[in-house]
């Protein structure tokens, strides 16, 4: 039972991460290759707070805010550089986070932070993670239908045209980065308390690519597709032993095949097969 609970919790955390990245890259069109850095920021901030004696809900909130604030900073960077330049800058943000954490003794350097207090049991974390994931999915579906979602779409399609018709491009870009990175911070806070041990390598470039793979394989821009992608990529290594040993080979090959044959991901395949457009 414990095993299934922890798999379900990880699936929910991955849904939170992927929905957050989809908001930035899918809805608002800003490619980010450094999403794991915000996952890490949330985890480290919440862990430090908890170790210092801050109550659990406040520690989680702290993680969300720290990740969100750094997200706003990267959002400002996205106003300055675009497209391919932005992709490389966000990748750089990931390496910068990792390189900085590795060298700070007060962040545990290579050893990370251990003995993080854990106030909940396995059921508690599963309930919290799944509850948060469901809330985020609902938020994502709502945003898509709202004025904000349409404005994101306009920014993604053609920034200059969006600006011409009076859309506050800068404001919406920063909003997308704030919501998406704050969600990653939430996942980080839950992860840190659940595992009680965090090390820098958990939040490396491969983790960023894994989150991107969930978004892209599910279908970039489609909330349901991304949820399916996140759950699928969490379960696959658990179901097949071979995949667990050669995770990167399978993820990489899937990324390549999806891009080659169905750039719309699972959502795109469903649209072609049944003519239904997933939200």
């Amino acid at each position: 039972m414990d095993y299934y609970l922890s798999v379900a919790t990880f699936a929910a955390l991955n849904v939170i991460l992927a929905i957050g990245l989809n908001l930035i890259s899918g809805f608002c069109g800003q490619v980010s290759l450094g999403h794991a850095a915000f996952y890490g920021l949330g985890a480290y901030a919440a862990a430090l707070a908890s170790v210092a004696g801050v109550p659990f809900p406040l520690a989680i909130l702290g993680g969300v805010l720290v990740a969100g604030v750094f997200g706003i900073v990267v959002g400002f960077a996205a106003l300055r550089v675009r497209e391919d330049f932005l992709a490389i800058v966000t990748m750089g943000v990931g390496f910068l986070f990792l390189g900085a954490v590795r060298k700070q003794p007060w962040l545990g350097a290579e050893m990370g932070i251990a003995k993080i207090p854990s106030p909940l049991d396995k059921w508690g974390y599963a309930a919290l993670a799944i509850g948060a994931a469901v809330a985020l999915v609902l938020l994502s579906l709502h945003v898509r239908r709202s004025w904000m979602g349409r404005a994101f779409g306009a920014v993604a399609q053609d920034e200059d045209a969006a600006r011409t018709i009076g859309i506050d491009v800068a404001g919406y870009k920063i909003a997308a980065f704030f919501i998406g990175t704050a969600a990653a911070g939430l996942a980080g806070g839950i992860y840190a308390h659940m595992t009680q041990l965090i090390i820098p390598d958990t939040f490396n470039f491969i983790q960023s690519i894994t989150i991107l793979a969930m978004v892209v394989i599910g279908g970039i821009g489609s909330t349901y597709g991304v949820v399916a992608g996140a759950i699928l990529l969490t379960l696959m290594p658990e179901l097949f032993r071979f995949i667990n040993d050669y995770k990167l080979l399978v993820y990489g090959a899937l990324l390549l095949l999806v891009m080659r044959f169905s750039p719309g991901g699972l959502a795109g395949m469903i649209q072609r097969a049944f003519g239904v457009r997933l939200a």
Binding site: S25, V31, A77, R80, V81, R82, E83, D84, F85, A87, I88, V89, M91, G92, V93, F95, L96, L98, G99, A100, R102, K103, Q104, F205, I206, I209, L212, V216, I220, Y246, K247, L248, L249, V250, Y251, G252, A253, L254, L255, L256, L257, M259, R260, P263
Partner: protein, 287 residues
């Protein structure tokens, strides 16, 4: 004296970066693709070179076979991965390229084992020269020589030969070039061939320098290659060469002065981000 030595080490790394980054710039200039999978070409070159050197005992054989293997893989990646998705939005090719990179890291692990291989008789590594209180080994000397020779050869190709002129015409206006009878497809294959041979030679050299060839060796250098081509202004060849040397030197001094704060990779990317915030199109970028 210590600072001069740091400068020298930085410039030597800069030469390696230049061989890697020039290929990335060539691909970007022609197709607007961030060719992350170049790391795979680089690593294959290193592995094949190492196997050839250990088999024949000759380092010359390592370079020839490494360059050949890399030169075959690059155009193959173009044909199988990029060509079918050229008309899609740019992130499609980028994600596909990342897919090739991460998949092949495990692929190399399957093929050649997880721990990495070493050269049995790496004479270049053990041959050292001392002058003015500084010590360099023969690999480092060859790194600079190879970079200067190959990049000069490329400059001659681009400015003095028919194929080079066709290549430059295609970069600046593919439709016009095609209407003048240039085979755009042919130019693309030549482009990938040159980029990949440079990466293969760089792979063998980095393998010799570390005396180790391992599955993940291409990753970091490819990410840095991307940082360099962005830093130089995407698609600009002179910008790329300048950025390679600058980044090598910045890293070299940075690892001494910022050692308590950041590691080597973080320094490189911090420098990139700072420069891009000041000049959003890179050091020598257009617009």
């Amino acid at each position: 004296m210590y600072y001069v030595e740091l400068l020298l080490v930085g410039l030597i790394w800069g030469c390696t970066y230049a061989m890697m980054a020039l290929g990335l710039t060539l691909v970007y200039g022609l197709l607007r693709i961030l060719h992350v999978a170049q790391a795979t070409v680089f690593t294959l070159g290193a592995y094949i070179g190492l196997l050839a050197a250990n088999h024949t005992g000759s380092l010359a054989a390592a370079f020839v076979t490494g360059a050949l293997a890399a030169g075959a893989l690059g155009p193959l990646i173009y044909r199988l991965v990029y060509q079918p998705i050229l008309d899609r939005p740019p992130f499609v090719a980028l994600v596909a390229s990342i897919g090739v990179l991460v998949a092949m890291e495990d692929g190399f692990r399957l093929l050649f084992g997880p721990y990495g291989l070493s050269f049995e008789n790496n004479v270049w590594f053990t041959t050292t020269y001392s002058f003015a209180g500084m010590t360099v080994n023969l690999v480092q000397v060859w790194m600079v020589v190879a970079a200067v020779l190959l990049l000069s050869a490329f400059a001659v190709f681009a400015t003095r030969t028919r194929a080079g002129v066709a290549w430059r015409a295609t970069v600046s206006d593919p439709a016009m070039a095609e209407s003048f009878g240039i085979s755009v497809t042919g130019v693309r294959y030549v482009n990938f061939l040159i980029a990949s041979v440079l990466a293969g030679v760089a792979g063998v050299l980095v393998g010799l320098l570390n005396n180790l060839v391992e599955p993940g060796m291409g990753g970091v250098i490819a990410y840095k290659g991307l940082a360099i081509i962005v830093l130089g202004g995407l698609g600009s060849v002179p910008g790329t060469l300048a950025a390679s040397l600058v980044l090598g030197v910045v890293e070299s001094y940075g690892t001494v002065f910022l050692d308590k704060l950041l590691d080597r990779d973080a320094i490189a990317f911090l420098f990139l981000i700072v420069v891009l915030m000041i000049r959003p199109h890179g050091l020598l970028g257009a617009r």
